[in-house]
């Protein structure tokens, strides 16, 4: 085990997979000479050359479509979107083409491609640059949606996504790139579709993924000091979703809070809440509680932005509501 930043863990995954499979290539804006807008691809152009690491024009629809076509032809493209906010321009190629070709062609075609880049709000980037897209893609059958919360998961899941035969949406975070965590030495992958219990507990389950995982764990710490034992479960992939793990944990704790950094309606948390309320109806002592960001476009001002985001204290409040404990 070594301590690595999220950025370096992703960089290792890209490096190893580019080295492993000559059919893989990395394409996106600034991924080459600039070493990546967020430096995730640092050094890869030097190491693999311009055939394998390609700087694209600012043409999201075009180069995402290029990737889909190349995947259809048997290559394994890794397409970096500078952020998922911009990838909206390419959504047609992702949901109308990549997600559907295997089915529409009854297996004649398949689309082994990864679209990856940062998702969610960083800091002071305002409304157009601070959005969450997990649910937007997870909605569509044919896609897989992966949102790692630790450097180790990021590396192992990105390697799995690159090897996966289906189109994978891989969501990172500007803020997390600099975060550190222990990463196994040597070759390993983390399976898509399998969640992990990140902290064991007995009183309440918190479901959280991606950047929110840290908020959940911080909240769990605070609650532990008050004698409340929280289990933090991380689905890691949103589609396919590890429902068994989530339900299993709630069966054990009897209470559930779903944490989400983004907007409160029609999001991932709503789906998880729906699953839990049905699967755990008989054992829940209180309804599933959701902790989310505010239902507003993200404001620029630091003070307002802080009010728009959930933090560990929101988590504490949510868990206490779920447990009917006075705050």
């Amino acid at each position: 085990m070594r301590e690595l930043t999220f950025r370096d863990a992703l960089n290792e995954a890209l490096d190893e997979e580019l080295g492993r499979d000559p059919d893989t290539f990395l394409m996106g804006e600034e991924v080459g000479a600039y070493n990546g807008a967020y430096k995730v691809s640092r050094g890869l152009l030097d190491k693999y050359g311009p055939r394998r690491v390609i700087d694209s024009p600012i043409s999201e629809l075009g180069f995402c479509g290029l990737g889909v076509g190349a995947a259809m032809a048997g290559l394994k493209p890794i397409i970096e979107v500078m952020t998922w906010n911009f990838a909206i321009l390419a959504m047609d190629q992702i949901v109308n083409t990549a997600a559907k070709m295997h089915y529409m062609s009854a297996g004649e075609l398949s689309c082994p491609i990864v679209f990856r880049g940062p998702n969610g709000a960083a800091h002071s980037l305002a409304a157009q640059h601070s959005q969450w897209f997990e649910a937007q893609y997870a909605y569509f059958p044919g896609l897989k949606v992966i949102v790692p919360g630790t450097p180790a998961d990021a590396k192992g899941l990105l390697k799995s996504a690159i090897r996966d035969p289906d189109p994978c949406i891989f969501m990172e975070s500007e803020t997390m790139y600099a975060w550190k965590g222990m990463v196994p030495d040597g070759e390993y992958t983390v399976p898509i579709g399998k969640g992990e219990i990140k902290r064991e507990g007995t009183d309440c389950t918190i479901v959280a993924w991606g950047k929110a995982l840290k908020i959940a764990l911080d909240g769990a710490e605070l609650l532990a000091k008050e004698g409340i034992s929280v289990e933090v479960v991380d689905p890691r992939t949103i589609r396919p979703l590890d429902e068994a793990m989530i339900v299993g944990s709630v069966q054990k704790t009897g209470a559930c809070v779903v944490l989400e950094e983004g907007w409160p309606y029609f999001n991932v948390g709503a789906q998880i809440s729906d699953i839990v309320q049905r699967a755990c109806f008989d054992i829940l002592d209180s309804p599933v509680i959701r902790v989310t960001g505010a239902d507003v476009p993200m404001p620029y001002a630091k003070t307002l932005e802080a009010l728009a985001r959930p933090d560990e204290h929101s988590v504490v409040a949510g868990v206490k509501t779920a447990l009917n404990v006075r705050s």
Partner: protein
């Protein structure tokens, strides 16, 4: 009728000329029966006929290699037949039967035959253009000397996807031929109403690639134009934007009565039909006798009739097919890795 001359097509051997005539007839008869079967409600949904445009598909097919990539939009019946896919599985797909090229899951707009390098069959206007950029990019990446032919209509040229794809295709000199089938209408809208530039080939200037136009009602003129573009692409000199000036005799789809154009306009175009033109050329070239061509015509009637019978007799897809082929590895647990 004075026999026109063609720089390259005049060198085609007799067998090829006869084959091209045969393809024209197959496409035409096949789709005439599609219209009939649609009326009988054997074919459902959207059904876009290619009737009138066959010279484009046939001239193109003769000018490229069987293993070159071909990608098209929803008006794709004739093009997949041109690749050599048997009429039966194509018709069966339109019927939605299990024996169709996509087991009935794709339908008229979504035909595929990877063994013959036909990659669809796409329903979002302009959406196939970046895909073609991708297959051409793959050829360049592999150095496999294959060319990608991408078909799209003149109205698709106003999609951002066209612009983004052509810039990258030109920038990276990928081996692609972008064939714009300018049949002058996008649904009911004439090109003059939708495009600031009606000479589609002129848009090539924005990407500094060759922009040319050819008579899309003349099979051999199409052959000449595509052959040049294909040679260029194969030689690594990059893509070409080729405007094929053609016309569709029928409405946009089976549900379009096409009241937006005059009977006169259609009749005038019909006089320019590619099939008699090709037939005359074949005879003038002594590539075949009248009688042989008549036999071909009859053989095709039978072939198409059989494709319908085949489709009629084929089973519907099994209910279990509903959930198959959504993913290659559904759980994503990596069993396939």
């Amino acid at each position: 009728m004075a026999k026109p001359t063609y720089e390259l097509a005049d060198k085609l051997d007799k067998a090829t000329l006869v084959k091209m005539y045969r393809q024209l007839q197959l496409m035409r008869r096949f789709e005439e029966r599609c219209a009939q079967q649609y009326a009988l409600q054997k074919i459902a949904g959207f059904c876009h006929l290619y009737i009138g445009q066959e010279a484009v598909a046939v001239g193109t097919e003769a000018a490229i290699n069987p293993d070159d990539y071909m990608i098209s939009a929803y008006r794709d019946h004739a093009q997949i037949l041109g690749r050599g896919t048997p009429a039966g599985p194509v018709m069966a797909e339109l019927f939605g039967k299990a024996t169709g090229v996509a087991k009935g899951k794709g339908g008229s707009m979504h035909l595929y035959d990877v063994s013959r390098h036909f990659y669809g069959g796409w329903g979002i206007v302009g959406g196939q253009i970046p895909l073609a950029l991708g297959t051409a990019y793959a050829s360049k990446y592999r150095g496999d000397k294959r060319v990608t032919v991408c078909y799209f209509g003149e109205a698709a040229v106003n999609q951002g996807a066209f612009h983004e794809a052509l810039n990258m295709a030109a920038l990276w000199k990928v081996p692609a031929i972008f064939i714009c089938e300018n049949n002058r209408y996008g649904m009911g809208t004439p090109i003059e109403v939708s495009s600031a530039v009606v000479d589609v080939y002129k848009r090539a200037a924005a990407y500094d690639i060759p922009g040319v136009w050819a008579d899309g009602m003349d099979t051999l003129a199409m052959y000449d134009a595509v052959k040049k573009a294909a040679d260029r692409a194969r030689a690594g000199e990059g893509p070409t934007l080729l405007e094929a000036r053609t016309y569709r005799y029928r409405g946009h789809s089976m549900s379009d009565p096409a009241v937006y154009r005059t009977r006169d306009e259609v009749d005038t175009e019909r006089e320019n039909d590619p099939i008699p033109k090709m037939r005359a050329y074949v005879l003038a070239k002594k590539a075949a006798k009248e009688k042989e061509l008549d036999e071909i015509d009859e053989a095709i009637e039978v072939e198409v009739e059989e494709s319908i019978k085949f489709s009629e007799d084929s089973p519907w897809p099994d209910g279990s097919e509903l959930y198959t082929e959504v993913y290659v590895d559904p759980m994503g647990h990596g069993e396939t890795k």
